[in-house]
Symmetry: C2
Subunit: 767 residues, 2 copies
Amino acid sequence: MANVSDITVSAAINSLSALLFLLAFAIFRLQPMNDRVYFPKWYLKGIREAPSTSGPLVKKFVNLDFRMYLRFLNWVPAALKMPEPELIDHAGLDSAVYIRIYLLGLKIFVPIAILAFGVLLPVNYTGKNFKIMSVSMKDLAFGEIDKFSISNVEPASKRLAAHIVMAYVFTFWTCYVLYKEYKHVTDMRLHFLASQVRRPDQFTVLVRNVPADPDESVSEHVEHFFRVNHPDQYLVHKVVYNANKLAKMVDQKKDLKNRLIYYSNKFERRPDKRPTTKAGFWGLWGKKLDAIHYYTEEIEKLSKEEIVERERVINDPKAVVPAAFVSFRSRWGAAICAQTQQTKNPTRWITMWAPEPRDVYWNNLSIPFLELNVRKLIMGVAFFGLIFCYLFPIAFVQTLANIESIEKVLPFLKPLINRGSVKSFIQGFLPGIVLKIFLLILPMILMEMAKIEGHIAVSILEAKSAGKYHIFLLVNVFLGSIVTGTALQQLKQFLDQSASEIPKTVGLAIPMKATFFITYIMVDGWAGVAAEIFRLVPLVIYHLKNVFLVKTEKDREEAMDPGSLAWPITEPRLQLYFLLGLVYSTVTPLLLPFIIIFFAFAYLVFRHQVINVYNQKYESAASFWPDVHRRILIGLIISQFTLLGLLSTKKAANSTPFLLVLPVLTVWFYKFCKNRFESAFRKFPLQDAMIKDTLERATEPQLDLKSYLKDAYMHPIFKGGEVELMDFDEDDDDFHIVATKRASRRGSQAGTTDCSPDPRNTGFNAV
Amino acid sequence: MANVSDITVSAAINSLSALLFLLAFAIFRLQPMNDRVYFPKWYLKGIREAPSTSGPLVKKFVNLDFRMYLRFLNWVPAALKMPEPELIDHAGLDSAVYIRIYLLGLKIFVPIAILAFGVLLPVNYTGKNFKIMSVSMKDLAFGEIDKFSISNVEPASKRLAAHIVMAYVFTFWTCYVLYKEYKHVTDMRLHFLASQVRRPDQFTVLVRNVPADPDESVSEHVEHFFRVNHPDQYLVHKVVYNANKLAKMVDQKKDLKNRLIYYSNKFERRPDKRPTTKAGFWGLWGKKLDAIHYYTEEIEKLSKEEIVERERVINDPKAVVPAAFVSFRSRWGAAICAQTQQTKNPTRWITMWAPEPRDVYWNNLSIPFLELNVRKLIMGVAFFGLIFCYLFPIAFVQTLANIESIEKVLPFLKPLINRGSVKSFIQGFLPGIVLKIFLLILPMILMEMAKIEGHIAVSILEAKSAGKYHIFLLVNVFLGSIVTGTALQQLKQFLDQSASEIPKTVGLAIPMKATFFITYIMVDGWAGVAAEIFRLVPLVIYHLKNVFLVKTEKDREEAMDPGSLAWPITEPRLQLYFLLGLVYSTVTPLLLPFIIIFFAFAYLVFRHQVINVYNQKYESAASFWPDVHRRILIGLIISQFTLLGLLSTKKAANSTPFLLVLPVLTVWFYKFCKNRFESAFRKFPLQDAMIKDTLERATEPQLDLKSYLKDAYMHPIFKGGEVELMDFDEDDDDFHIVATKRASRRGSQAGTTDCSPDPRNTGFNAV
């Protein structure tokens, strides 16, 4: 797979598969019955109505040849047409900034590619093809493509100066573009925050680790503390109930209701036969029962239990966790409370900006300080194990899943297994599939780890699991492809090597792996992005739901799965392309066009998806940007060290001091940007708070902020609830019953804090 | 120098020299003429008066045999007598906490030594003396002492389990003691801050990087900004003048005045001969002049220039730097402003707690943000060069200073140089002296580097230079003693070794270096501390000043040099003893008693010095403690890795996982303590601010805070000044002339921000 014609073939195959996905998309999106799969965003906005299905079906197929081709091109300008401010308005700042990452890739790599093709390609091509590799290695990975790579330059040649100069140029260009982008995103964020309408989280602070008081309840203690220490600013607060058990019950009930609907539909269609189910697990075994009757009874039983539990939560003082949402009279007051330390002991009365209500991860609000530290330690060790030992459990499962064990456990399968084709399938594919499944569920494992670590907002959970995923991909995909063997073997190899040898090992392997990574970009990047726009999994699930569950138009709306950007998964994968581009920009510039095509294509696709499909669960106002920035710089530093190692194998060791300057400058640039911009993503400046407060006081002097904030931070389980809720009212310091209204559809939907990243939404294939 | 008898001799010699210092101290401190050298603290407090010098001088010498010996023991109980609260009151919290570090050393090492002697010594001694070293190495460093060290345990022996268990016990004990101490110091600090009287810095925030405004002066801009964004809290502010040139003039004038006094005194003593001086550099050459006349004229000239410059500074708007001290109505308001971000751009309107007035480093208040970042980058690179290349310039100077070059440059010295004894002195001692001089001025170099980095308080400058000094000692003294060769050669050696080999190299060398470090502890530790109490350099300087400059009692007071703890120098050196104790606790426990004697002796000496001698320049309320804590933990981690390396050379590689747990736990412990305690040293909690404010409002309702704060943050150059000062008054927004009173003596003295650490104050010999 090493010479140019091989790559051409591979590119052709992958372009074709990408084209097939696009064609399938072009066909499927025109079918009215798929409209809710490909345009759910517009339905959620209430702008789009179901297209009439009365027209003659055949017409679409008749027009296929001509119109389809037009349509096939059609979505591209449509995706590009919407201007950025409108896009922010339509899909939120997170989405708008997210697709800018692809644009950033283009901004970085197009000029780099032009320079590299103009300067480095001629320098490499006219070099003497002085092979330093052994013949076997040459057979493996060296081919015509290497005529254009640094491998073609003979060791200790003066030509290598060109590569060093280019490394400088590329570093400065990348930093320049990153600086401009950071500045622009910061401005966008600040502008977005400034132009936002009034939101409860602007006035609210989350206080955790409220110390126990023998004489006062948590609620009283919180109120007295803030009345004393923020006398002019304190307005109202909301204690947090531990409603985890109740939430589980509600989920269970929803599941039962779905089953009831399924069987009712079945009965409606065939009224002659009452549907039956079995009492055991998942209706698979046990006594045969009348399904409709059984589920109706089960739901009633659960409803009663739910009411009991609901009352217990509200009335039992032990169900109140030592945390509260404290709201202030002004944004200024909240900004002050969030940024300052309240008491001597920094592990008590910890204040931070409240996440927006949809973003709160309720389960973790009550973890005490010491436990939080222990959890982090354990998860740190577990993550280390996950990176370096993840192949052990997989190997174990694979051993279990081999022919002999299967035969032993399930002897009746023996005749089947012993048939040649089945046997070879099991032996050939099963190990690979186990690994594939692991990589598919890896983001979910990382998300669970982040939850155990005890973060209190979905956005933080996602950021943390994204960080872990990035490290995993860096070690096990990038390094794992270069230094063969398991991560543990690599680690041992690196530890046994001297520090100055490590970059050499990596540097030596880098040019040889260029063709592998080009193929990777085409398979994972090109075809993956095309698969993303086709949305196969949501398509299938939607139609299954449509057949079995949907009765009314409202049901159909609920069956829609718009999905979301799932950036904790896509962003770390995306970083791999930045890394590859930066590493190969000086080594094998031929790789750059493939990266550029990926970024351009992905930009189009994701812009389309953001406009027509995805529905973000919360809005963090691009708070993930510092992570994106940092990770690109990590890629830049890795690229500098690999070049350093590569050149030292080229007997150009005296270039080392020149190249060592680059990582130092890059680290300094990182720190500079951090100081300059990061606080805009972490803190809320007082001046802006004051401006908004003053404006609001002038325009709405009669605003009743207290009632506006009262129920903003209520556990979602109480918001959608139908029973009455005992609530603590601050005005007259006594408990009375307040009927809570059913929250608006949007609030209820937003309240479901299902934060497992959903791998279905990303067309990328893991590894 | 390897066997027990050698060490006994060395111990005897060093104990004797320490004893000699103590004896000299005992004699000298009784002489009334030395009273101001050994008890300056009491003079400064105004408690002690000069002892009468009228008694018969001979009496002291008569009583010498008997009384002196009693006195010699006498200062020890006196040093221990003062209880800690009184000590804090007398010498400040910084000093009281500083001497607790020595106590901490005792708390850590006494139990460790008991356990190590009880468990490890028998285990080591009964091991088979299986030598793994080559014969030449054995001759070099192995001796009887190794019978008690881990070297005596044969490789792969089960006995090594004892060392691993002890490593765990020592780690947990050290962490436990450190935790208790951190907690105690935190409580002391908080109690100290809470019981402090009203101080200007409690109400004041330093704001830097005030953006330029075309319509307003800096002063107006500051006032408007804080009136808007802290409406209820803003009280008054003080702009900062760039008076660096003026300060230089004042220093120059002081110097000239000293010369004038010197010549006047000379003339008084011998009125027959008018003293003369020369006009050239330092009075060494040039035209001969009448000294008194010449200096009187010079002073007059300078005074006139000074007045002009003083007026320029006050009237020229360009002399106002974009920084200001902003004071608030309450501590609460200041705490809020110091801890929050003011504007979108985090590089503007940067607020932080104002250092106390004595602590401000005025020269650095005006550095803009970008320049600050560039300065830090340059200093980082320079520091790296200083660590790894400091021997190059020294070698260069040494080459210049060899016989041949001296002969070439100064041929007339040839006959002198060629005499045997002089030649051997130059060749034998000069290179060593050059190195010694470098190490003596190193702290000053590091302080200059910290100043260039742009920190704005003397306490921060000292903390930063201490951190650099610690790293320097770690690399060039500890590692440099173990891995011979220059730091650059070491670095190369480490880079060329594999990561898993480095601990082995160090681990192998550690037991061999035990005797070297025991000698080091005695020379640098024991004798050094004894020299500290003797105060030779201040003694000589005081008497020189007394002879040449002192005329009145006030002059004599100014001639006193109480010095200060100079913790940026002593603390990093001290850390070396913690490191050695921790490293050798499992390897060669015989080293521990030497460490314990050092800590006990140093505790006594420094307690005496703090009570009787030192006068701290500012009070940071023990804000250095997090650094002390961190550095001890760094020592602990180094000790764990060296043991790990040592055991892997002992063919006990399977112990590695057990020992790897320790650094992980230690790092976690560090993070835990950081979260738990550090903010008490960095932030001022709102609750405490509120309590103090409320109390003050109740007890002193009539307090005029504005006039109290008005001149607190004035450049010291204006405080001591005699000319009138134009001042900006906030009440009526116009300039009028306010006569500033001569500041009180204490304030003026405190205002001299001479912050170069003074190596004279520490008896430690560098390396």
